[in-house]
């Protein structure tokens, strides 16, 4: 079961300082919240690069292959024979290759984003506060019960407007 301490902050630099100290002390697993993407928080958390690009590449390759295959296979299976013209030809079929590449690549990118970001999330509200979408920043520290007091102290020292335990 998840258990930890959540801190709500007004200021961005206070949030960053809190994350840096909690991380330095190794007090638990950290999640930062902000109403808008902030690179300061990303630097403080220092996560690995997003893996969305792999989904994009896979989707785009699958799409372009399917687009060319569909048009070539369709032409060969239902041939429209015109004298002197190839039944299947790559140049006009590039339109299909391109369009299907964009369609599958983009949808695969969105799927990758959902998968990696852990959404859709329909029930889990632990470690979240509605103020994080409005104007406040937040830090959720998932930690062992004996570390809760220390995490709370760090958050309060850096100016958290509210600190509470959740499970």
């Amino acid at each position: 079961m998840m258990r930890g301490m959540i801190g709500v902050f007004h200021e961005l630099d206070s949030t960053v300082d809190t994350i840096e100290e909690l991380k330095h002390k190794g007090l638990g697993k950290l999640t930062a919240y902000s109403p808008t993407p902030r690179h300061e928080l990303e630097h403080a958390i220092d996560p690995p690069p997003s893996g969305v690009r792999k989904f994009t590449l896979f989707g785009a390759l699958a799409g372009v292959t399917f687009g060319y295959w569909l048009s070539i296979w369709g032409s060969m299976y239902w041939p429209l024979v015109v004298g002197g013209k190839a039944i299947a030809t790559w140049l006009p079929y590039t339109v299909f290759g391109f369009e299907v590449m964009v369609m599958v690549g983009a949808l695969s990118t969105v799927f990758g984003m959902f998968f990696l970001a852990g959404i859709p999330r329909l029930t889990d509200t632990v470690g979240y506060d509605p103020r994080f979408s409005h104007g406040h920043f937040g830090v959720w520290c998932e930690c062992a019960p004996d570390k809760l007091a220390e995490v709370e102290a760090v958050m309060r020292r850096h100016g958290a407007v509210e600190v509470r335990g959740e499970r």
Partner: protein, 467 residues
């Protein structure tokens, strides 16, 4: 007329660097939410607008019903002019749909700051415009219940999809464009729907918004993958914008018809689409910024920067018009020469001059900074451009078909009330969706506007300053 006097908090900037447009009157994240979400409340004027849109839509539905009952003969088609108002209107709405993805994708990749406050409205406009455009091939085929025969899937009805036909390319291009622009709009909306969810007090609406936001929580992990996905979506959408209207232009350019069979059509169509799309963005955004009190979000600097874009695309379109005439003369083909003469000085002079005046001459006014910063003029100009761009498609479709390479079949074309009814109906359909959108979801991207608002800091000169 709107005043040219600058608001006190908005210094006049003679040279607007499009990548550096800030919002000096917006100082906190909370202000962004409060002001933009306050416009979600319906007003009497909004109900009035919706009623007008529904009335126009009703006329369109009636006209379509009448056409289905009586047959396609009630439209103004007259052989050999078998493409008329429906195809013109199809190309018009596809063109309108181009500005949204241009603003949201291409200008995003180019880091053009002026897009931030207008791109959501433009994206929604794109989706609704493509939805409108998609109706017209169905209306045009006369037997709309067989529309799925347009889709080139293998079947046993002896319908052989010709993968070398631009009409089949079109089906793929438009379907992809509608799917991707809808995806782009919805992905961008997820964090903003989460804002609505967190402020909602009605439990049913809260649950619905929670479902639509996919449980978005604004965590660093979500933002990181979101930003990466958004970048790739923009990268996919950028060539898509250019490809879609290129493919639409192939519908014409692949035909051996005077005025159509020309290699400049793809760039000419793409520039025209962006031009008309921006004009429609102005038609929508300028009244909105006034009625909803959003002048400090869509500032004169934003309008100035977008006016430069309109001016540039107008010059490209104007250049394409001139090149068409030049090629007709230089090519030495009598049918082409006669066709272009007929277009401007003969049978269709009035349509061609409406096009040239609205698209080429009036936008030259945007060389004046005073006019670029005058919202009233920009709104009036946008109406002229919308009219001019509809007539551009009229001039491409009708004069070519009525004056092709066979003089014995030269003819004329007069739209009927059914054509006009469906044209008006298309505006009703488009604005109905747009008005419903405006009152259900944020018309400006809350999260992206917050990105350009400096965050609160404890230390005045912190090294963690806003970017």
């Amino acid at each position: 007329m709107a005043t040219l006097v600058q608001p006190a908090d908005e210094p006049r900037r003679p040279n607007i660097a499009s990548a550096d447009i800030q919002l000096p009157a917006v100082t906190s994240y909370e202000q962004v939410d409060n002001e933009i979400l306050s416009i979600l409340k319906p007003t009497k004027a909004w109900f009035g607008g919706l009623l007008i849109a529904l009335a126009c839509l009703g006329l369109g539905i009636f006209s379509w019903g009448y056409q289905i009952h009586q047959g396609l003969g009630v439209a103004g088609y007259n052989p050999p002019v078998m493409w008329g108002v429906y195809i013109i209107t199809f190309v018009f709405w596809v063109g309108i749909g181009h500005a949204g993805t241009l603003i949201s994708a291409i200008l995003y990749l180019f880091r053009a700051g002026f897009r931030t406050t207008i791109y959501r409205a433009a994206e929604a406009m794109t989706v609704f415009a493509v939805m409108t455009a998609g109706l017209f091939p169905i209306i045009h085929i006369g037997r709309p219940w067989k529309f799925f025969w347009l889709i080139p899937y293998p079947n046993w009805r002896l319908l052989w999809p010709n993968f070398k036909s631009p009409l089949v390319w079109d089906v793929f291009a438009i379907t992809t464009y509608l799917t991707i622009s809808t995806t782009f709009l919805f992905v961008g909306l997820i964090p903003d729907i989460a804002v609505l969810r967190d402020r909602e007090t009605n439990p049913i609406r809260k649950k619905l918004l929670g479902f639509l936001s996919f449980g978005w929580r604004n965590s660093e992990r979500e933002w990181r993958h979101f930003a990466r996905a958004y970048l790739f979506l923009a990268a996919f959408s950028t060539p898509l914008v250019l490809s879609v209207h290129s493919v639409v232009s192939f519908d014409f350019a692949m035909g051996i018809v005077p005025g159509w069979h020309t290699t400049i059509f793809p760039p000419y169509f793409v520039a025209g689409a962006i031009f008309s799309g921006f004009a429609m963005v102005w038609t929508i955004i300028i009244p909105m910024r006034r009625w909803f009190g959003l002048k400090h979000y869509v500032t004169l600097n934003h309008l100035d920067a977008s006016a430069k874009m309109v001016l540039f695309t107008s010059l490209v379109v104007g250049c394409a018009y001139i090149v068409e005439f030049f090629i007709a003369w230089y090519g030495g083909i009598p049918y082409e020469q006669d066709y272009f003469w007929n277009r401007v000085f003969g049978q269709w002079w009035w349509a061609a001059w409406i096009m040239l005046t609205c698209n080429m001459i009036l936008p030259l006014s945007l060389f004046s900074q005073k006019l670029r910063r005058n919202p009233a003029w920009l709104f009036i100009l946008s109406i002229f451009i919308n009219i001019g761009m509809w007539f551009e498609r009229f001039v491409i479709v009708v004069p070519s078909l009525s004056h092709d390479v066979n003089p014995w079949q030269w003819s004329s074309y007069v739209p009927t009330w059914v054509d006009y009814g469906l044209l008006i109906g298309s505006f009703g359909w488009f604005f109905m969706w747009f008005l419903l959108f405006v009152k259900q979801l944020p018309i400006m991207a809350l999260a992206e506007i917050k990105e350009i608002v400096p965050p609160k800091m404890k230390k005045a000169h912190s090294h963690h300053g806003g970017h």
